[in-house]
């Protein structure tokens, strides 16, 4: 296991949305990660969730065009390690979800946690403590 930490989607969104209460700290962590001064990684799921949020008019007042959003995705993809999805992600997610008693959209938190654990990543930068706070072996790092 390493001290590497995964950047959650809410961190990326907050870093780019100046009205978010967590904007300043999220911006600092993301910029430190991109500059290489913080040992961080992302997951494909995180990047897609970021894309889905900033292009969705229900989530933001002035959604980005897909081209602009993909450009920002590329910035993170090219600068940070992207955790590979383990081939047994379904089994891992199902087992973890059942042990936690999660349902509905929480399964996507569990899938991300399962991907982290399969890759030996135990730390996550996130402001969403809901599921991650209950996953054995995962530590939340709130900036």
């Amino acid at each position: 296991m390493s001290d590497r930490a995964l950047l959650d989607a809410n961190l990326l969104v907050y870093a780019m949305a100046p009205n978010a209460p967590q904007h300043a700290v999220a911006l600092r962590v993301c910029n430190d990660a991109l500059a290489g001064s913080v040992d961080a990684c992302v997951a494909a799921q995180v990047l897609f969730e970021f894309f889905a949020t900033v292009t969705n008019p229900k989530r933001v007042t002035t959604p980005r065009t897909p081209a602009v959003a993909w450009s920002e995705v590329e910035k993170f993809r090219s600068a940070l390690p992207v955790l590979p999805v383990p081939p047994d992600v379904v089994e891992r997610t199902a087992a973890l979800a059942q042990s936690l008693g999660t349902a509905a959209q929480e399964v996507f938190d569990v899938q991300l946690a399962a991907t982290m654990l399969a890759n030996g990543v135990e730390r996550i930068y996130t402001f969403d403590h809901g599921v991650f706070g209950r996953v054995p072996g995962i530590r939340i790092v709130e900036p």
Partner: protein, 76 residues
């Protein structure tokens, strides 16, 4: 020491770009800021932009905060 004078927009929180202290006075106007101590050959914009997040000043995130996957996947 190299210097560069740049025009910066004052945001609603009275901060200019990423200066650490609020600027008293006008809100929504513009000021000129002298950047001092610049490297002789600063990195190109392309290189710098790849290492920094783009802050979209015109984008407002709708609540709730914190954003969870319940919201992200709400419309899926």
């Amino acid at each position: 020491m190299p210097q560069k004078l740049v025009r910066a927009r004052i945001r609603e929180d009275r901060r200019v770009l990423e200066l650490p202290e609020p600027i008293p006075g006008a809100v929504g106007g513009e000021v000129y800021v002298a950047l001092v101590g610049l490297p002789e050959e600063p990195p190109t914009d392309r290189t710098a932009s790849r290492r920094r997040v783009t802050v979209w000043e015109d984008m407002r995130l709708r609540g709730p905060f914190p954003l969870t996957r319940r919201e992200i996947y709400e419309d899926v």
